[in-house]
């Protein structure tokens, strides 16, 4: 394997990791603070992408589209909170699974009804189209690099929000012991709503950001959702730091495993067997990682709950 290829795949892995982090950040807080299983979080990512596609087409500008998508995704998340999620806090996990599964089924069909079953695409902004040469003969799209940068910046902002603001303090406290926070006089219902809306907005933002490089289609959030679950379980439910570390781990391992797994196996196996085993093993790697983490640390790498 050449250095150039390794570099490209590492960047791709990083980009997947960042994307996963943006989605996982909201989800891990919803999980951690509210002890709530939200399967519909992936749908919010999809809604974000669709909103971006719609607003970009309306305004004719990528930037205006993104700017409109953020408040719209936030509003949509809050709407869902009021209509559905609010009534499920403190309920059995099963009820939450069923309700959010119903929501997935409904929303996947709804976007099909509203926007059609055919994939939509979002034009890439002129400013970020094109590629730059990372090294001799190695071009990498500017947009993807910008994506990584924006993701890292968001992670930084999130870190400051969680660690240096009052709301952030309450969120951390809530993730550790929600009943106690409530007993100390904090309106936990409002805190939940803020966390939920913010999480929905982050997922929507992630969807909007990848819209120019992926096709926007119904069900696009479903498989990413599972990866996100893997991320937050590995990181430890409720931990933003854990989500960040785990997201990068999952992104890199998944991408590099698929790219180089078969080649690495060729060192120990016959070529045909190696490519077959490699192709089988690569998509399973992150699940194996998760099983291993759960085996040794049943509450993830950065446990939050006491």
């Amino acid at each position: 394997m050449s250095t150039a290829l390794l570099l490209v795949q590492t960047l791709n892995g990083l980009q997947l990791g960042i994307l996963l982090f943006l989605i996982a950040a909201g989800l891990t807080l919803v999980f951690g603070v509210m002890d709530f299983i939200n399967l519909a979080h992936g749908v919010q990512y999809m809604i974000g992408a669709y909103l971006a596609a719609m607003f970009c087409a309306w305004t004719g500008s990528f930037w205006a589209g993104i700017a409109l998508t953020l408040p719209a995704a936030l509003a949509f998340g809050l709407l869902l909170e009021v209509l559905v999620f609010r009534h499920l806090y403190g309920r059995d996990h099963l009820d939450q699974v069923l309700a959010t599964l119903g929501l997935i089924i409904f929303l996947n069909q709804a976007v099909k009804t509203v926007w059609g079953a055919a994939p939509l695409s979002v034009p890439m902004p002129d400013l970020l189209s094109g590629s730059i040469a990372l090294m001799d003969g190695l071009l990498y799209p500017v947009y993807r690099i910008a994506l990584i940068g924006v993701g890292l910046a968001t992670a930084g902002v999130l870190y400051l929000l969680i660690n240096c603001t009052r709301v952030g303090m309450l969120v951390r406290a809530g993730a550790t012991n929600a009943p106690m926070v409530s007993a100390l006089g904090v309106d936990i219902g409002r805190l939940f709503m803020i966390v939920f809306g913010f999480g929905a907005m982050l997922a929507g933002f992630a969807g909007a950001m990848v819209a120019p490089i992926l096709s926007v289609e119904p069900g696009m959030g479903d498989n990413l959702l599972i990866l996100t679950f893997v991320v937050i379980v590995i990181g430890g439910i409720g931990s933003i730091r854990g989500a960040f570390v785990a997201a990068l781990m999952v992104g890199l391992i998944d991408t590099l495993g698929r790219a180089f797994g078969p080649q690495l196996l060729r060192l120990v196996l016959a070529p045909a067997a190696a490519s077959q085993t490699g192709r089988s093993l690569a998509p399973m790697l992150i699940y194996i990682l998760m099983a291993a983490v759960l085996f040794y640390r049943p509450s993830g790498l950065f446990p939050v709950k006491q």
């Binding site: 999980f31 002890d35 299983i37 399967l39 559905v84 009534h87 499920l88 996990h93 099963l94 009820d95 939450q96 699974v97 069923l98 309700a99 599964l101 119903g102 929501l103 997935i104 089924i105 409904f106 929303l107 996947n108 069909q109 709804a110 009804t113 479903d222 599972i226 679950f229 893997v230 379980v233 439910i237 077959q276 192709r279 089988s280 998509p283 399973m284 699940y287 194996i288 998760m290 099983a291 759960l294 085996f295 049943p298 509450s299 993830g300």
Partner: protein, 329 residues
């Protein structure tokens, strides 16, 4: 004498059997009624329903009695159907043998994965079952020798004791129904047995059960293996019904649907799981006949069941009975 007494107490404690009996009678009559309509279509819809009822029943064993929310139960359906597909490719088309292999494979998978999953609890348990389900799904996708992503078309249904009787849709229906009835009775015995009571005890309070000398892990592991083996049989039947095997049988959405069936019917009642599967699939069938946008209706129904349904259909039945003054409190 004492045995007789416990029998009586047990009979009194047990939930009323009438709904289960009515349900089975209705299912026996389905093929007769199907003659007046589009017979092969109705038969195939109901055979599918029964197959999913077996899967839901097996899930209820661990979900309703052990409070183990498995989000990867469809993996066992996949194991069952791939047992058929792989064995059939190699010329083994005896269904009893396929079932045996399917059950053994399911038990091995259940024990191996549960040994890890059961160490975690709550949300972590749910997520780890999901992860193992996904692992198997991706494994099946990569099995290029057996169709990979596209799946595997079977040349025909399996033989039963060397005969081609399963090729007859009505016979196949009754075989599936007999299996469902058999598993229902078996599950009833299991849940009423000492093992079942220990399992329920662990569901209510694992710490206390450990204190009085029952190690939860062993009982839960056994329950998972059992549920997996039964679910694998449903996979064997599904492969035979469709004469097709595909990784799509074990997507996480499918696992979610199985959960939905059990919750819809009411967990921890066994017959509720069967009723839930029937209700879910018929609802799907009816709605998709009405409109192409049927998911816009199904989704909200599930949400409403989750928000308002206490105990699903079985719970509804219990409340109705109480209101009309019949039955135990």
């Amino acid at each position: 004498m004492r045995d007789a007494q416990t029998e009586v107490t047990r009979a009194l404690l047990q939930p009323p059997r009438t709904p289960a009996l009515l349900m089975f009678v209705a299912l026996v009559l389905v093929p007769l009624a199907a003659r007046f309509g589009a017979e092969s279509f109705i038969l195939s819809v109901f055979t599918r329903t029964i197959i999913f009822a077996i899967a839901a029943l097996s899930l209820d064993l661990i979900l309703g009695y052990g409070a183990l929310v498995s989000f990867g139960h469809a993996a066992f359906m996949g194991i069952g159907s791939y047992a058929v597909g792989i064995l059939a490719t190699h010329g083994v088309d005896e269904i009893l043998l396929q079932m045996l292999v399917a059950m053994l494979a399911a038990i091995v998978f259940a024990v191996a994965t549960s040994a890890v999953s059961l160490r975690a609890s709550g949300v972590y348990y749910i997520m780890s079952t999901l992860a193992f389900g996904q692992m198997l799904y991706f494994f099946a996708v990569s099995l290029s020798a057996y169709g990979g992503d596209d799946g595997l078309t079977l040349s025909g249904r399996s033989r039963l004791l060397g005969t081609h009787i399963l090729a007859n849709d009505r016979a196949f229906y009754y075989v599936a129904l007999a299996l469902l009835a058999g598993f229902y009775l078996l599950a009833q015995r299991i849940t009423a047995s000492r093992f079942g009571r220990v399992l329920r005890g662990i569901r209510e309070n694992p710490v206390r059960m450990r204190a009085i000398g029952f190690e939860p892990f062993r009982y839960q592991l056994t329950a998972c293996a059992l549920a997996g083996a039964v679910c694998a049989i449903s996979g064997v039947l599904l492969a035979n019904l469709a004469e097709f095997v595909s990784p799509a049988y074990m997507t996480w959405q499918r696992s979610g649907e199985l959960l939905a069936m059990v919750i819809l019917g009411g967990m921890g009642t066994l017959w509720g799981a069967i009723l839930g599967a029937i209700a879910f699939l018929l609802l799907e069938e009816v709605l998709s006949g009405l409109t192409e946008q049927w998911r816009l209706i199904l989704g909200p129904i599930l949400i409403l069941v989750a928000l308002g349904g206490r105990g699903g259909l079985a719970g509804l039945y219990a409340r109705l009975r109480r209101r009309t003054g019949g039955g135990a409190p």
